[in-house]
Symmetry: C2
Subunit: 378 residues, 2 copies
């Protein structure tokens, strides 16, 4: 607090030549912001977080992935999982692999509004990136799986995705000599089940992590890694732009579900999200908060891939997102009528402020690794 | 010329406060550049084009597509072609459509270094965008097809693409009642051949065009559509950066073949390009000049998708691209030893100048249309 008052006193000399950012009525110059954010995160300006936000975590350095006790990491297991990940023989047509919708060169998504699966049938939702997926407490936009091991069973069986039967897939893969050798090495037996397939696959998936970004290096002490604009964006992200209410912690996600106003209730593209899983009225239209690390590579955005650019996405948040109120008596009586999250409101960001936030999102995006499809076991 | 001298005389007053761009030893201020480029293109500063460049065309407003006399446009034919374009039943597996590698949401390419086809086998080359494909005198990176109608036969039959037989595909499609109705409407008969399939498909493909960009509106008289940085980029594009030697005309391509130094001669990724078609030594390592309209959407770049960003691409051109000289006696005697194009040389662009060129490439990229996959005839 003392530091802040001191800086505020100092600020007079910069008033004429500098841009200002407002935090709870205190304007900061860019120079002051750089000084404030060059301190340890515990001494950063207080974030603008609503009082009912639970389990708030400050932003931080990218953590290393954790592996569950009942499926620990081994290099061989991850290598085996990589083959499975790129193998179209997990699908009934023999043409669709996990990588078809989670392409390393497209931010581990597929770059499309919604994914296309068996017979190129369109799904309902945008393919989520697998970057930092080890951290997800729930999987899918609606959280219907509680572990990656659980998750992988869904796309294999989904008739608009891989359209396969788990038992048939298991049988087919067991016929491949190359896999018999690899599973023997990793699990000690040539015959393998869907459980071991899942263990190998998810071990690979947990290694899919963002590299360290310029923001991480900034936090680790390299104070010139962020530009003035990016530091302004960081401050806005934590304050006026309110992003940090949901996108918090070192991976920029609270692992919770929120309704951002895109339920399309009663209309063609209706998607009740989390409600489909829990059947609780309060979950209507809620979707999982995605991590924002590497977000510049994971377009398009939102559960339905509505916006192809961060600019459009920011404009939508700046407007407060759609917030439809029930008007007719029937709507008022309808317990399922979707409620847009109370954390969303019009932000009043100027064009420059929006660009600063976007610049900051660039600074938490790392250089992508080229992962090539391996030659598959035969 | 009088205008230029007049502006040069004027320039003194800006010398201290403005950035300069050098053209044949004459520095221009940004203000002067804006004035010069606000004139009709015929009065623009002389481009820095090598004397042996043939058929040079100045940049210009986006032209409308032309359709061949023996396959004229009709709306119904284009609509039918759109169904075929998105139909995976053109492939032997029933899973791969033209759109699989030419996805409207990914700049009508696929966003990958090289495409993946039947059984997810990787091809050798990057999927070319279909934007403005009506203008291509030759198709494919190596120009092995002379018309779109000819082109469409290759991917259908290629064993690492759709892996189908033309006659079998024709037979399968003829069984689909919905197509019988549509072909009847367009061609007057229910039974249709590969030739009519090609005519419909290519009529749709010729409608895939860039929208007008800010550069077009600038040329049409809206002189504030380009920023100072973009005008500087335009000037550099035509002069110091030398892009216009090959990327010229209203579609930013000379429709010729050039060796940009990425032949990988004698190494794992060797690709002799145009030579594979013509068997002429002078064509070793030559690839077709792609249009640069909408280039910000068509990453990654070069025939092998080597660079994921324009920044990397510009860095490579700035270095003059790889220009390997034969050193051993065997290399000197080797008539196929690749020669990098004489139009390429180190450019000496500063970081700011590179960013100006990239900004200009943004200004010749238009807002993308959302084209959704249609519901297919059954």
């Amino acid at each position: 607090m003392r530091t802040k008052l001191y800086l505020l006193a100092l600020s007079g000399v910069f008033f004429l030549g500098s841009a200002f950012v407002t935090l709870t009525d205190q304007p900061f110059t860019l120079e002051q912001l750089r000084q404030l954010y060059s301190q340890p995160t515990s001494q950063w300006p207080k974030p603008d977080v609503d009082p009912d936000i639970k389990n708030f975590q400050e932003l931080g350095v990218r953590p290393d992935p954790k592996f569950p006790k009942d499926n620990p990491y081994s290099e061989k297991k991850a290598e085996l999982g990589k083959f499975l990940f790129f193998d179209p023989r997990l699908s009934v047509s023999g043409q669709i692999a996990c990588a078809s919708c989670h392409e390393p060169q497209l931010g581990w998504g597929d770059g499309k509004q919604v994914s296309l699966g068996h017979d190129r049938q369109p799904g309902k939702r945008n393919a989520m990136t697998l970057l930092n997926v080890w951290n997800n407490e729930h999987l899918f936009w609606d959280g219907r799986a509680n572990s990656l091991e659980h998750q992988m069973r869904f796309p294999v069986q989904d008739r608009v995705e891989m359209n396969h039967e788990l038992t048939q897939m298991e049988k087919n893969l067991n016929k491949i000599k190359g896999y018999q050798v690899l599973f023997k090495e990793v699990f000690g037996k040539e015959r393998f089940t869907i459980q071991e397939i899942a263990q190998a696959l998810t071990t690979f998936e947990r290694t899919i992590v963002s590299r360290k970004s310029r923001f991480d290096r900034f936090l680790e002490g390299k104070k010139n890694e962020l530009t003035d604009l990016e530091i302004k964006g960081l401050h806005l992200f934590r304050t006026k732009a309110r992003c940090i209410n949901c996108h918090n912690g070192p991976l920029f996600t609270d692992n919770q579900f929120h309704n951002v106003g895109l339920t399309y209730y009663g209309r063609k593209y209706e998607d009740l999200g989390r409600y489909h899983v829990t059947k609780r009225a309060e979950d209507v239209g809620k979707f999982r908060t995605p991590s924002l690390r590497d977000v510049v590579y994971t377009a398009p955005y939102f559960h339905n891939g509505l916006f192809p650019t961060l600019d459009g996405t920011l404009n939508m948040y700046n407007m407060g997102m759609p917030n439809l109120q029930p008007t007719t008596a029937a709507q008022k009586a309808d317990t399922l009528f979707p409620k847009t999250s109370s954390h969303l409101k019009p932000l009043g960001l100027s064009e420059d402020e929006k660009q600063a936030v976007i610049a900051f999102l660039g600074a938490i995006s790392s250089v992508q690794q080229r992962i090539n499809q391996p030659e598959l076991p035969q």
